[in-house]
Subunit: 414 residues, 2 copies
């Protein structure tokens, strides 16, 4: 084992998931097992910005029971961030600052948890440190409900959101079909460019309680076609359940909310999402004189830890722990990924994917898993997703309410 002695810092970035803290627990609990190599284990306050500001917590001061409770605490316990580092060839101010902080705190292990953008950040930092001669191990820990990271069978966070969406769709189906009167119910699901999550509503169809129509961002849509699809459903039944990704767009790349107004843009230049279901509802109201209701799952789908997939919680934890173990073995510049073992029973193998490959490459739902009409999901997707959503979590409770981790958050000193 290559013994690079020093301290470790872990940061959480991008949008929360139900299990991002489970990965944090995996990193912290594994790293704290190796005090001979990793002396201090730090958690960055609000990701990369916490490192730039020299604000990070000394995780060794936390009670191990609380670190374990992170497995069932949604969102990012350390605080997250959406901060885009400049291209180091254009402006290396932030990178120099990071190098100073790494040196000051003898950070030799930098782990970053996030999606595409975060892996890009991770990759740029690693390359800069190599160029600067600062020896360190840089590892990416994946997370994204969007499930769109390159090279991994699936991403931590996706399965729990998928389980939430499949279950909630089944429940909403019971409610939305309860009256004898015609009704259109629109379910708006997160997902900028990939429809993995929106497709998860289709799992409810296995139980006969799912959407009639599903629209993913993988294929362009237009209002006319959707109207016809709805008309067709209404020919044989008086209820329409329609699931739509917030990221669906027209042939010329316009999001539905953009067709009726302006849409804000975030730090990474991504358009702010949400409102798609309501825009579609408004359009359909002009054409169908029946009750139409849009439901936006909004933040609920990514923070519903009570409905997380136990498999997802476990795999997220292992992704964090594996990153530590691999880095201790000398690996750097890789993200931990998942490979589905070639067995009848589902089994997850942990693999390593070079950061430069994963950064900014998006994985989409294969065209052949979407029906020909582009308005439904085929059973191949069920075979893919169903094993991932297995296992109800045994949520720690107190007073009938979830018992989330309570961290002391002791700020580190140099």
């Amino acid at each position: 084992m290559s013994q690079l002695k020093g301290n470790l810092i872990f940061g959480q970035s991008g949008g929360p998931t139900s299990v991002i803290n489970s990965s944090a627990a995996g990193v912290f609990l594994e790293a704290l097992k190796h005090p001979e190599t990793i002396e201090k284990v730090y958690g960055a306050k609000h990701g990369i910005v916490g490192i730039l500001n020299e604000e990070f917590y000394d995780m060794g001061q936390e009670a191990p029971e609380e670190l374990k409770l992170l497995k069932h605490t949604p969102s990012s316990a350390l605080g997250s961030v959406r901060y885009k580092l400049a291209d180091p060839d254009v402006d290396d101010t932030d990178y120099k600052r990071l190098l100073d902080v790494f040196k000051k705190y003898n950070i030799r292990y930098f782990f970053y948890n996030g999606g595409n953008d975060s892996m890009d950040t991770c990759n740029k930092i690693s390359k800069f440190m190599q160029k600067s001669g600062w020896e360190m191990r840089v590892m990416g820990v994946p997370k994204t409900i969007d499930n769109d990271l390159y090279g991994t069978d699936h991403c931590p966070g996706f399965a729990s959101a998928a389980r939430y969406l499949a279950t909630s769709t089944m429940e909403v189906y019971q409610d939305a079909t309860v009256y004898d009167t015609p009704q259109i119910t629109i379910l708006e699901v997160m997902g900028r460019n990939a429809g993995w999550l929106t497709a998860a509503t289709s799992l409810a169809n296995i139980k006969g309680a799912g959407p009639d129509l599903i629209y993913l961002p993988e294929l362009p849509i237009n209002f006319e076609d959707i109207k016809e699809d709805v008309e067709n459903v209404l020919k044989t039944k008086n209820k329409v359940i329609l699931a739509v990704s917030e990221g669906v767009h027209t042939e010329d790349g316009k999001l539905l909310p953009e067709l009726v107004g302006e849409v804000a843009v975030d730090a990474f230049g991504h358009k702010q999402m949400g409102g798609t279901g309501e825009v579609l509802a408004d359009y359909l109201r002009d054409h169908f004189d029946i009750k139409i209701r849009a439901i936006e799952f909004s933040l609920l789908q990514r923070c519903a830890a009570h409905l997380a997939s136990q498999r997802d919680v476990d795999e997220a934890f292992e992704a964090g722990a594996t990153a530590v173990r691999k880095a201790l073995e000398g690996v750097t510049d890789h993200m931990v990924g998942f490979k589905r073992a070639d067995k009848e029973e589902y089994e997850c193998e942990y693999i390593l994917i070079p950061l430069d490959k994963v950064a900014n490459t998006e994985k989409k739902v294969p065209r052949e898993w979407i029906n020909e009409e582009g308005n439904g999901i085929l059973p191949a997707y069920y075979d893919y997703a169903l094993p991932l959503i297995q296992g109800a979590v045994d949520m720690p409770m107190e007073d009938g309410l979830p018992r989330f981790a309570r961290l002391k958050k002791v700020l580190a000193k140099a």
Copy 2:
């Protein structure tokens, strides 16, 4: 025991809850125990309309295991309805038709499950049948997430929705406070005239993860005051969580969506709800240049059976079973209600409330449980609500998805 022999019919009415089918299970399973008195047990398809149309299911043909699964199946398995019977003094057509059907099928037990409107329906039918000399037992079984029925400590359905809201608020809190940037998150909760459910978001405050501001329909609101409240919160922290009832209204009785457009009206003359959070978000966007997001819990809050309170499931079941037992003892014209036993440990006693008292009387959140400023909930509410939300349900699962009841729904023949 007064032995009135004949058949029983049970109908579900109004908006669904997570446990309305648990009451149905209570009625069916109890009634099926007494074949010597109750020969046939019917379930009306879409409530009162199913009786008018002579469309009802023979519940004796269902597998007992499936009837038990109703305890964990949200919404109304028989189908619900929003149909207002005329005042019988003005137009008694429907009542005469009901009498014909009751006679044709020898219906001697009519049980109706619903809220205020349904108890009014129940009461009118009972009075008409008495006048017509058709001996029968008419019982109301309460249900409403709104928790606004007169004479009962609480209503089946409320506690499960409250548990969902408290849990989801805690989860959303983790998510909505994850970035270091200022943000206002608005949670819109159901409730036309009573704020019981909106107040349930305050239970998350027990765990330090609840709303800063809460607005119930019990007190008039205005935009200016809310803006000032938000400003005050922003003086000491950069995140505002604000819970608002869809039913809040201005001093002159206008709902927030009415301030910006027209609002549809249902069969009972009630205004259609929803959209309040978004209207408030739009208003606040004109005054605060920070991220503002509105989340509408929509149907999710009333159909999330996976997060039901076990206590609520049990009490809902008992409400149905008690109605049967009491009717068999000769009781009629009453709704089953809940009384909190005067003990240290929570215990529910089942009581009877005359239908004419419960019909169309609304119970609101006491003024003394709301803070002086009218923007927060006091601990007296916690003492009331916390015992009700206890107990996680052990949701029957199949393929990682809920296993809801599968009824054969065999239509009855005369």
